[in-house]
């Protein structure tokens, strides 16, 4: 049992590290695109790792399935939100600036 708990702790800690890194990135990165990059890492990987960590603790198959489903929904929503923000920012930024940013 403690072996399983250890897995949970490791995965959840790893997830928390990603969340922390994502938050720091969100605050520290210079422009919207790199901030989005940091944010989506936190959402996708951080949440994913935490879900994996918690999967060791579930007692029924359906609960585990629900958690995976929630993760996949969060992935879909996150990537779309990111896409929408990025697209809006891209369309609103003057061309030269975008080029500078991508270079």
């Amino acid at each position: 049992m403690s072996f399983v708990n250890a897995f949970t702790i490791i995965f959840c800690l790893a997830g928390a590290v990603f969340f922390l890194a994502g938050t720091v990135g969100l605050l520290r990165f210079p422009d919207i695109f790199s901030r989005l990059h940091a944010l989506t890492k936190a959402d996708n990987l951080g949440l994913g790792l935490i879900v994996i960590g918690l999967l060791f603790q579930v007692d029924s198959f359906s609960t585990g399935l629900k958690m995976l489903f929630i993760w996949s929904l969060a992935l879909a929503a996150g990537s779309n939100a990111c896409y929408a923000i990025g697209r809006y920012a891209f369309l609103r930024t003057p061309r030269e600036k975008t080029r500078e940013a991508s270079e």
């Binding site: 929904l73 879909a76 929503a77 990537s79 779309n80 896409y83 929408a84 697209r87």
Partner: protein, 348 residues
């Protein structure tokens, strides 16, 4: 109750207070709205800490979700100059970034004297309130009575039993308030009817794909929540708002929903939940029982039926809030025809 718990609670409470303060003192409307959304999310933590999953769900769906969408949509409107002056172009992209400070004539807290007086008054009131709350007895409530009657209520989840059976009258009126708010919004807009969205940007391909894919999943989840309400946190309101969210997303994706719906169907949709409750209430009266009393052997089934009707109606009404405010007739409200019935109403 460990020290860690206490520290966590105190941090959450301080965060709530700071966010509320910043929401109200921010000079920019956008800032205010963002702080308010953050406040709502922190509230969700508080609900979870207080073991109130039903409230957390309702608040997330209705308080943060529905009102959040309406608020953001309103920010968009207030960011544009009003169209009382004929020369302004409504959909010019430049006009979107207009500086929307909350009040240009004066800051929020208008003068030093007023702020000091108000501050002192607030501190005093806060002291009185907190002291009075502190004096409340440490125990009590109607838990025992609810537990005792739970088996006769037809459902197993106590909150649903209170909402749909013990205090079903409140819930009936609450569905009525939603209907009433829709009538009020019609009055504010000056006409009864919908038109297509004024949203100028078509969504990207990814978004439309996602929304189309997600809609069935969301409808399924709504049905699940509705069914779950019998046993666990969930129920008509949460399910209804999820249905509304489907509608709002589809509308944002440019799929017209309201503009082609016949007026009769709109009217039926708005009154369906309120009416179903009422019909069961009247049937009970005719059967020489109390208003809204359910036959005890069928209570569970009747509740499910009423809840389903309420969920559909709540979803429809909440979606109608958004669709109406977002309608083109609405947003190009023109000064000189104020109060006149407009010919452009498609559903009349």
């Amino acid at each position: 109750m460990t020290l860690l718990d206490q520290v966590f609670d105190i941090v959450v409470c301080l965060l709530l207070l700071v966010l509320a303060w910043r929401t109200l003192s921010a000079t920019h409307l956008y800032q205010s709205a963002i702080f308010f959304i953050a406040f709502g999310l922190t509230m969700a933590l508080a609900w979870v800490r207080l073991a109130a999953p039903d409230v957390a769900l309702a608040e997330a769906a209705i308080g943060a979700g529905l009102l959040g969408v309406l608020l953001v949509d309103s920010l968009r409107v207030f960011a544009r100059p009003p169209e009382t002056g004929r020369d302004s172009e409504p959909n010019k992209p430049e006009s979107r970034d207009n500086d929307v400070t909350t009040s240009r004539r004066r800051p929020q807290f208008n003068s030093a004297v007023a702020s000091v007086t108000a501050g002192a008054g607030c501190l005093f009131l806060a002291y009185v309130l907190v002291a009075a709350i502190h004096d409340l007895p440490d125990g009590g409530g109607l838990t025992a009575q609810a537990a005792e009657n739970l088996s006769r209520s037809g459902v197993e989840h106590p909150v649903t039993a209170v909402l749909l059976n013990f205090r079903g009258f409140d819930t009936w009126l609450e569905v009525g308030v939603l209907f009433l708010a829709m009538l009020g919004i019609f009055c504010a807009g000056g006409l009864v009817g919908f038109s297509e969205t004024e949203n100028p940007d078509p969504p990207g391909p990814l978004l439309s794909w996602l929304i189309r894919g997600l809609a069935p999943v969301m409808i399924l989840t709504a049905a699940y929540l509705l069914w779950l309400g019998k046993l666990a946190p969930g129920g008509a309101f949460q399910a209804g708002i999820l249905l509304a969210a489907v509608g709002i997303l589809l509308r944002l994706a440019g799929i017209p929903l309201m503009d082609r719906v016949p007026r009769t169907v709109i009217k039926l949709g708005l009154t369906f939940g309120f009416g179903t409750f009422l019909v069961f209430g009247i049937i009970a009266l005719l059967a020489d029982k109390a208003f809204l009393e359910y036959p005890s052997e069928w209570a569970g089934e009747v509740i499910l039926l009423v809840e389903a009707a309420a969920a559909i109606s709540i979803g429809f009404t909440a979606f109608a809030f958004f669709a109406y405010l977002n309608s083109r007739d609405q947003s190009t409200g023109n000064g000189d025809t104020a109060g006149q019935p407009r010919e452009t109403n498609p559903s009349q």
